[in-house]
């Protein structure tokens, strides 16, 4: 058993090395002295300094954050409601709804992107940041629904029933009993949406309009033309930020408290 454990541990370590090798390179070369990304020349913060004054990249970061925030809020609300509907009630059209919620995940991104841009064209809807938000909401709702749904299963309804018995109105019960208890799931779903939105390239490339270039679009065009380590710097910063956010969310994901907390 000990020997097998060691083998497993070795395999896992190797896999982690595989997972992190590109990341390590990415971060390391954001400090590279030269813009020729092939060779290491020396340590410098120059790229970070350049980044902070690069209006173009900062603009796209801003776009990504705006789209991410808007899509997260809308998709989280809709997805949570959907999860509640799926998780607690039996209703006509339930099976159909489940399939509907699976579709955005299952259907290849390229098909969704192509469909959306064609639709916007036919409907005469000008491409802009708004169309990007719409697109992001469309593919995000399902993720939130799945995550919150997972949180709902095994949910103890006796707490809600107790509240209702004690005279609370259903809406009150929802906000003061249900929501706090499913909140870790909701937050996890929101974080998932935010991350996917921030990094989405395929669908966004179809539906972004003038001035709506998001960070992944910018990165892709830079990759095609010739990368400067500024791109590495942006990614490193984003990575650091998301790690912090995740650690924070981890603390929120503690198993639901026994009684009266929250």
């Amino acid at each position: 058993m000990r020997r097998r454990g060691a083998l497993l541990r070795l395999h896992t370590a190797l896999v982690f090395a595989f997972l992190y090798a590109p990341i390590a390179i990415l971060v390391l070369f954001s400090f590279n002295e030269t813009s020729q990304t092939a060779v290491w020349r020396g340590f410098t913060f120059e790229w970070y300094r350049k980044l902070l004054s690069d209006e173009i990249i900062l603009g796209t970061v801003r776009n990504s954050l705006i789209v991410g925030a808007a899509a997260t809020v809308i998709a989280t609300v809709l997805g949570t409601l959907a999860a509640l509907a799926m998780g607690r009630y039996r209703f006509r059209g339930e099976g159909l709804t489940r399939n509907l919620l699976y579709l955005p995940i299952i259907i290849p991104e390229i098909v969704v992107g192509a469909a959306l841009v064609t639709f916007f064209g036919v409907a005469g809807l000008r491409l802009s940041l708004v169309t990007v938000v719409i697109a992001h909401v469309v593919f995000s709702i399902s993720y939130v629904a799945i995550v919150v749904r997972a949180r709902l299963s095994g949910f103890d309804r006796s707490l809600e029933e107790a509240a209702l018995d004690l005279g609370a109105r259903p809406v009150q019960t929802f906000f003061r009993v249900t929501l706090p208890l499913i909140l870790p799931g909701v937050v996890a779903g929101a974080l998932l949406v935010f991350t996917i939105s921030i990094d989405d390239y395929v669908i966004t490339s179809f539906v972004a309009g003038v001035g709506a270039t998001t960070l992944p679009l910018q990165i892709y065009s830079m990759l095609k033309v010739g990368v400067t380590p500024e791109v590495n710097a942006v990614s490193t910063l984003l990575l650091a930020t998301t790690v912090v956010l995740i650690l924070f969310a981890q603390r929120l994901q503690q198993p639901p408290p026994e009684r009266s907390e929250g």
């Binding site: 982690f16 590109p22 209703f91 509907l100 095994g154």
Partner: protein, 300 residues
């Protein structure tokens, strides 16, 4: 399966589910329908659509199926075959690589470490996919890290062609999909009842038998979920084959993207897109039937 609470049909669900139906109906189903209709049209001379004079004659002549017919030509079938093959290999490699990791984290590792390890699995996922793919170009190129290490270690005498071929595309795909295989496997393994494993050992089964006859069957839902979550995106991808494959191979995703972006043939691109979707939906139906039989759906 779906609702946990007992009770019959409830009207209370409708206001909850209506907004989602509205948004997805208008901005998801409707566009797909539009795309579907377009797949029956013809390309105009400069992209766009050719106006159809006589709808009746157009339908009766069977011309409206021209794109679907065209996609059955050997050259396109070859592309589909390669895409499926690539996705299958990616899925298998992912499964083989991920299972031991998930097993280690769920069963062997000390419980207090689990969250940390899971976090470590997920963190790479939080960086830009494009950049990570680009980093692989960096590692695999002729004068890149991999070759330098191999030569320094004396394992090879001259640089290997590690980039711009099927090998690099496979690496890129597996790399991107790994978390999607590890997580469902972990979820399944974590729920595994240890006492069953112990009982099997107590009854004299060697570890390999226990694994084959107890662990694997009991984690089948996780395996199925992982397979779906990895196979589907791999089938439709085009970025990895574009960047890491040197644009030398054309897979299904490249074909669709190409028709929309370069060849300006929306109808044909739509037809291929829908065939891709059909293949994926078949898989989903299979998965749904499978979970219905087992009585448990891992996701919804």
């Amino acid at each position: 399966m779906s609702a946990d609470a007992g009770g019959g049909r409830s009207r209370a669900a409708y206001p909850l589910i209506l907004p989602t139906w509205a948004v997805l109906g208008v901005f998801f189903l409707l566009p797909l329908c539009v795309l579907f209709v377009i797949s029956f049209a013809q390309r105009g001379t400069y992209g766009g659509l050719k106006p159809i004079e006589d709808l009746g004659a157009y339908v009766l002549s069977g011309k409206f199926l021209s794109h679907y017919a065209r996609s059955l030509h050997p050259i396109y079938l070859q592309i589909f075959w390669r895409s499926i093959w690539m996705a299958v290999v990616t899925t298998i490699v992912c499964l083989l690589v991920s299972y031991p990791v998930a097993y280690y984290v769920a069963i062997v590792a000390p419980p207090r470490r689990r969250n940390l390890l899971l976090g470590l699995v997920v963190i790479p996922f939080w960086t830009s996919f494009l950049i990570r793919t680009y980093a692989w170009m960096f590692i695999l190129r002729t004068e890149g890290l991999a070759n330098r290490l191999l030569m320094a270690a004396g394992l090879t005498s001259h640089p290997l062609e590690l980039l711009y071929n099927d090998f690099s595309v496979l690496i890129g795909l597996v790399y991107g999909e790994l978390p999607f295989m590890i997580l469902p496997l972990y979820a399944s393994l974590e729920k595994l009842d240890r006492s069953l494993l112990e009982a099997s050992a107590d009854l004299g089964a060697p570890a390999r038998e226990t694994f084959r006859r107890v662990t694997i069957p009991m984690t089948a839902p996780g395996i199925a979920a992982g397979i779906v979550l990895v196979f589907v995106p791999s089938l439709g991808q085009f970025i990895v084959s574009d960047l890491l494959g040197g644009a030398k191979t054309i897979l299904a995703g490249n074909l669709v993207q190409n028709q929309f972006a370069v060849a300006r043939n929306k109808p044909f691109g739509s037809a291929v897109a829908f065939e891709l979707t059909a293949a994926v939906l078949l898989l989903l139906l299979g998965y749904a039937a499978y979970t219905r039989r087992r009585g448990e759906d891992v996701l919804l």
